[in-house]
Amino acid sequence: MQWEVVIGLEIHAQLATKSKIFSGASTAYGAEPNTQACAVDLGLPGVLPVLNKEAVRMAAKFGLAIGANVSRRSVFARKNYFYPDSPKGYQISQMELPIVEAGELEIELEDGSIKVVGITRAHLEEDAGKSMHGDFQGMTGIDLNRAGTPLLEIVSEPDMRSSQEAVAYMKKIHSLVQYLEICDGNMQEGSFRCDANVSVRPFGQEEYGTRTELKNINSFRFVEKAIEIEVERQIDIIEAGGRITQETRLYDSDKNETRSMRSKEEANDYRYFPDPDLLPVVIEESFLEAVKATLPELPDEKKHRFMETLSLSAYDAAVLTASREVAEFFEVVMAAADGESKLSANWVSGELMGALNKNGLSLSESPVSAVMLGGMIKRIADNTISGKIAKEVFEAMWKGEGDADAVIETKGLKQITDASAIEPVIDEIIANNPGQLEQYRGGKDKLFGFFVGQVMKATQGKANPAQVNDLLKQKLKA
């Protein structure tokens, strides 16, 4: 039997607000336990929530970016359940009337085709605290610093058909929320997390199979592996005549297996109802217009612009727009290089990325700034240096020896373009190599390269290669 995989993702993106969604406590990561949990976050008797405007703005921004309907009226509801990291005994979330409904996103598949994934909804909610399993008299410790951090839960349609598609979608959302500057995307710190709903069905069947929910898979690699291993598990069970139980499962990356979460297995009855401490959130047209005005150029728009106006290939454009940081870096390089798009694209995605990867650095840590790189590319374009010499200049800049012009100056790397300076060198080399000259003239064309090499060597690579070629051709003929 051929099985079709059906995947939907629920992504939790922590919104990059300064304060919490319902209180004035800080959301900064890594503080001492419970120092950023105020009376509201602790759910002390008598405290009340007040909604953070920035969280609403960010959610609306996301909605606009995915072409969704940003609800003019949305309602917060309480999701009731007891758990020690949920201090009030309920989580404030949105149920019936979420702030964002019905959007979509394009993902690029490996074969270069494009697929549209539906986004059912995105709603605002508060994050929970953290359980610490240290040695506390055999007990669990609870840190509520994270409690009340705003989350945008982004729920996709079950539109993905492979783990690769799921990862492509997750990466696209990851890139988008950073483009929008609504989430720092830091997966190590848990700012961007993902649950996957996975099921299988025989090809051609319309009805969905029973799904399982894989919880908290926090890297792109684990999402792929967790889905694959879960799909295998489900197919094995069905093919052995068994049935899939609808349940929550946890991915264990050490053992590369998923296992049932017994603590959450019990049928939950969340008793959602509108939170009486909060009123309906009404979004005025003017608010939405103001948010619209802050929308940056989105990844896909940027990609298409790069292809159309800069004549970059689809591949180059996709690489350079995968993150807002890279795209913005590239655009600064290009501006500093007087619009040399192709050279800039090659240098950013080639030499620079290679050097960063090799040294384990992020783009923001690059010793060569975008302006420096652009300045160097300008010198390639205006023939001050050759592409080969540029690699030497780049290395020097990387080591902190100054910008391109300074390096070219101090190292004397300026290209020789004056024919009257190159000609004597050629003459001397021809005179010193009569044997080779004879062979060349006798028809051994390959020796042309030998003469070029000798000229370049004699000029320490500074002679303009095109000029060297032209001059050599003339002189060797004679």
């Binding site: 120092t35 950023q36 949990a37 105020c38 909604l51 020690p84 007990m139 669990t140």
Partner: protein, 102 residues
């Protein structure tokens, strides 16, 4: 969703299920009394079903107002000592609970 609840009659296991959802420890011996009280209250509540509410919009709130939004500024400073002073059991500035197993 079930339709209108017909004369409710919560049994012992219903009470236990509800008490579990609400995480309320109830003495076995008290269950019948709770069942009887709750059934009486539900019988009172049942009077609601006599009224046709088709087309009536639900009222969640007395005031027909909208949510105010606060500016995104950090206004709370660390007050851990005072705020955790009421905690029954703590260590290393954490609230302690019996081991949570996942």
């Amino acid at each position: 969703m079930s339709s209108e609840p017909s004369s409710p009659s919560l049994q012992k296991d219903d009470i236990e299920k509800i008490a579990h959802l609400a995480r309320l420890g109830i003495d076995e011996a008290d269950v019948p009394a709770y069942a009887s009280d709750l059934n009486n209250i539900l019988a009172l509540v049942e009077q609601m079903s006599a009224v046709d509410t088709t087309g009536v919009s639900p009222m969640a709130h007395p005031m027909d107002a909208q949510q105010r939004l606060r500016d995104d500024t950090v206004t709370e400073q660390n007050q851990r000592e005072q705020l955790m002073a009421n905690a029954p059991q703590t260590e290393a500035n954490l609230f302690l609970v019996p081991q949570v197993i996942e």
